[in-house]
Symmetry: D2
């Protein structure tokens, strides 16, 4: 059994890791830390875990974490980078669900995240944990930077088109919509149900931290600098991201075949039949990304629709998929449930 630790287990990605790990055949949950809730049984905070997880939160403790085979960081940005070097030295492998190791350029990271990076020398080693791009590298990685939720949905939606130069790598538009769990479980007025229920809005239009991450992914895929406008919106649902993606056609191909071929061996990417409109609920609670590609009115603008559960393929599920690759499990271990519908 792989001994697993979780740092920062009181947020939504934390409880989601616990939900999914509880059904994983090959892991043993050793430690889950929370400074604020130390001593409290996990199931007292999250009653869905009653009868499934008997652990209590403990104060962060380097030794207990150092005894793990793998540590997940489900912490705010800027926390993992302070502990990662020490854990790597102790031989622990790491999946960081926050953004500390996602951006390869430390200056760019510092500009968008507004703090100094604590271990810029480690960034290079980190593998960006999108298995559909980096499966082999993930397998042997000591440190995986788990992708952001929006970047996962957008990158998977555009990858086949960008890699093959079917659409221009400039002038891309990603109009994205996320459920409220993406904003986390911290107290705030802005995320009260009284504020966000029965309403809809864009946010972060001038600039959102996932923009440089998406641009990095697409630039790698294109082999040249990609240009993108990214507009996130807040959906009055709990789980789900829908990315509506627009690009300028520059090469005639069979779009449906392009997508089906690119993803035919991917266990978690499902290309829908031609003409389909994926619903976020079709991936609620599971690690799948469902994609449909359209060419409306036979015009030159290609439209891709891509949906994920932001807490699963956009966070905890992808982290476990990465763990499965790192430790030689079956890639779907613990991730084989059917989405909850209705």
């Amino acid at each position: 059994m792989v001994r697993v630790g979780i740092v920062g287990g009181t947020g939504y990605t934390g409880v989601e890791l616990l939900r999914l790990l509880a059904g994983h055949p090959g892991v043993e949950l050793s430690v889950i830390t929370s400074r604020g809730e130390a001593g409290k049984p996990v199931a007292d905070l999250f009653p869905n875990l009653r009868g499934h997880v008997n652990l209590a939160f403990s104060a962060p403790d380097s030794q207990a974490l150092a005894a793990c085979d793998l540590v997940f960081f489900a912490t705010p940005n800027g926390t993992a980078m302070k502990m990662v070097p020490g854990l790597l030295d102790a031989g622990v492998r790491i999946v960081d669900l926050a953004a500390d190791f996602r951006i390869k350029d430390p200056d760019l990271w510092e500009q968008w995240y507004g703090m100094e990076h604590a271990c810029p020398e480690v960034i290079d080693e980190a593998v960006y944990g999108l298995p559909e791009m980096n499966r082999e590298a993930v397998k042997s990685a000591r440190l995986v930077a788990n992708p952001g939720c929006y970047p996962t949905a957008v990158t998977l939606g555009l990858l086949p088109l960008i890699e093959q130069g079917v659409i221009a790598s400039e002038g891309l538009i990603a109009d994205c919509k996320s459920g409220v769990s993406g904003a986390g479980r911290g107290a705030s007025v802005a995320m009260l149900m009284g504020e966000v229920g029965e309403s809809f809005k864009a946010y972060g239009v001038p600039g959102h931290r996932h923009l440089p991450e998406i641009r990095q992914n697409l630039s790698i895929a294109a082999g040249r600098q990609a240009g993108l406008t990214f507009v996130p919106h807040l959906l009055p649902i709990i789980r789900g991201i829908h990315a509506t993606l627009y690009g300028q056609l520059q090469k005639e191909v069979d779009l449906q075949e392009l997508f089906e071929t690119r993803y035919k061996d991917e266990p978690f990417v499902d290309v829908l039949p031609s003409g389909a409109h994926p619903e976020t609920r079709s991936v609620k609670s599971v690690n799948d990304c469902r994609i449909a590609v359209h060419r409306p009115q036979n015009d030159n603008v290609i439209v891709v629709l891509s949906v994920i559960d932001n807490l699963v393929k956009g966070a905890a599920g992808q982290a476990i998929q990465n763990m499965n690759l790192m430790f030689g499990f079956q890639e779907k271990d613990g991730l084989n449930a059917v989405a909850l519908l209705p």
Copy 2:
């Protein structure tokens, strides 16, 4: 492998059976019928099943059903009773998720369901499939009447109190609230999101079909005729039932201990600590019933809070629990997931 058939698979209990059976280690789904959707792959109607269920709907066919070990009826009331005698004769065991065999008194059934019963002689044989009341009888049953959603939540909430005479069996009140999936997947104005979203109301106050069913359960438990006022309400959520139950105390006992003792061996009933308030989301997608018992202001009115997922413990999950008992599976087989929270 137990060969399973489903009659009427296009509603919410049908897709929920499929979601849960897809993860069951001991069954093989042989046939799923739908007159209206015959020929269509199940996963075309319910995209969450893509990659998990490859079957297509077929027209109802006695022979295909007769070749099953077990048939679930996920049909409207009045359908199963026409096919059950023939299937029993063919040696098939049956779990009816509708109401055809729940009420022991055929006259009472006909009065509430507004039609003549097609096989009143079979009713007696049917076992009411609430394992917490009838586990042993279920094991050997040929025909199980799967309980209604409200009756499950209400009965489990009141059972310990009624069985022990702790509260009066007269003057009981069950103020119940159900998510919209309880109304099924039929086209209707009344259940449009534009009609039921952001609103709340009672319905069926003069009389609801689950009233005689609940009364029957409580009367059996009390050993005498029970008296109950039952008021159902429609919640603007998809899944979940919350029963708020009121009874008049007539015997001083340790209420918490009473409930914990009664349910200590029940795999799907979770008695919360004293003072708790169960949330419907704590059982979303799972077969658990979570219960808390209160005595507000130390007064003589006992309040029980009982929550289930109406599509799982209130329908498909309980049906599979019954199947597990009937075929000697572990009672939690296929039903061991963690609730989806948030």
Copy 3:
């Protein structure tokens, strides 16, 4: 024009007062205070007010308030009581939307609200502002204690039955459900959409502050001590309270006629036809209380269904109704809109 001030305008009752007062023909909004938002235009915080309210928040200032004819307190419990004596001395009339003056017995108040009352000598003068009970007293009141949201819905639902002794004043049950705006606009984890969306639960079952207020109302109506079990629940909608009320019949009357007669001259109480089920959306945004009375199965338990908008008849609307009575306006001035449906 009546000069009006609002203390504490950043919460939901504050913005609702502003929404309704903007359409009132006889008032001039003079001052609105907020310590935290002083200097900020009201419409910057609440964009719905753009073009309707040009005022900015100001720091609390006794002199500006003393120059008003009427001051509304839309503050947390315990704030108004500190400022009311001074304002009364300055000749200002007051409507307190919080609980400081609702409970006649100061000891009981202190027990439930957990603080010492700052001016117990003023409590006696305060008129409980439920016009359906105290219309004449409100007209000449200097200080009105605006009722709580649950007490409004419950009291109006039970009043005709209790006043006439039609049901017993003991053993009453009020099973109430409220939208999330009732919890206010303060930052909290508990009221995040991720926590309360798509879920339902009871809360405060051991004891809720509205219990003594409801009991006081019903005891006055009964002419003797009333006994009540009150269980509030949290609805995943923004606005609306639904009270489901149960009482034991002790006198045969025509229930429908009883209610219609009691409320025939009430501008804001609408008795629905026999057999109806009021929806909370039928009163969304308006000051009406809609009520239906049932006697299920011709049994002896009477069921009353009562709905209000918790921010209107349950708070700001009723406050303006009281103001209308105090200043000789038409009772419906500013309160004559049609509910928003759908």
Copy 4:
């Protein structure tokens, strides 16, 4: 008083017309027709109208309608065109809330709406009722084609940019999101709360009927054929449209000033301060369109955010605004309420 008739009053635009007309100072509601509900009081179907509208539905009757000064058609597409010529001959003025007279090219109309036009000769006379484009023409119109909901939000958002050639009229993208009331009040599986709650999806990507209407508006504004990709999505809220609009900058201007100048005299268009993100709830229940314009990352893609209430500015409110212009009322008569927030 202007005598007003409504044809087809059982849908959401019908009840919304009634809600708004009930507060209009200058109209008298004479007749409201519904074949299916003839004889039933309007307030029986829509309880929010109790105490405000005493009319009953009547069967469609040419004579009663011919006695009106104005008739609103709140009917499915293809109904108004059969009755309009006769009513015009009778001297009645008409506002059609459906699509029968919106598209100037009858062939294009027939292609998108799949039926033959009953009176193509009348199309030319119809004035497209977007007051911000055609105010003067509306004033004297006999027949007004009330714009679609999406076209209203999109056109108002792009108008200043297109009219001045600030963005290219080709390659425009309109990523639009609508609440469920836009789909009407007809019984359907697709719009059940169990189907659309807690989910999000695009629909009609290959082609939606509002595409030619938007294209027509933008082409008129541009003075040349405009090119547009239009992707509508279904939001799990009841009311509200959010249009996120993308265009390629081709002329440097002060964008904020451009919008403020264009709309400074418009009573129902509110240009938000620079950097703002309008929420749909800020226009819930009112006739306003709130707009913000962005230039993210100082790049060449301009992003406009435009919100309306689809039932008000997107339907009934705009129809009344048009009526106000046609009959010389103040343009805000009956339309001056404050949006419902929260």
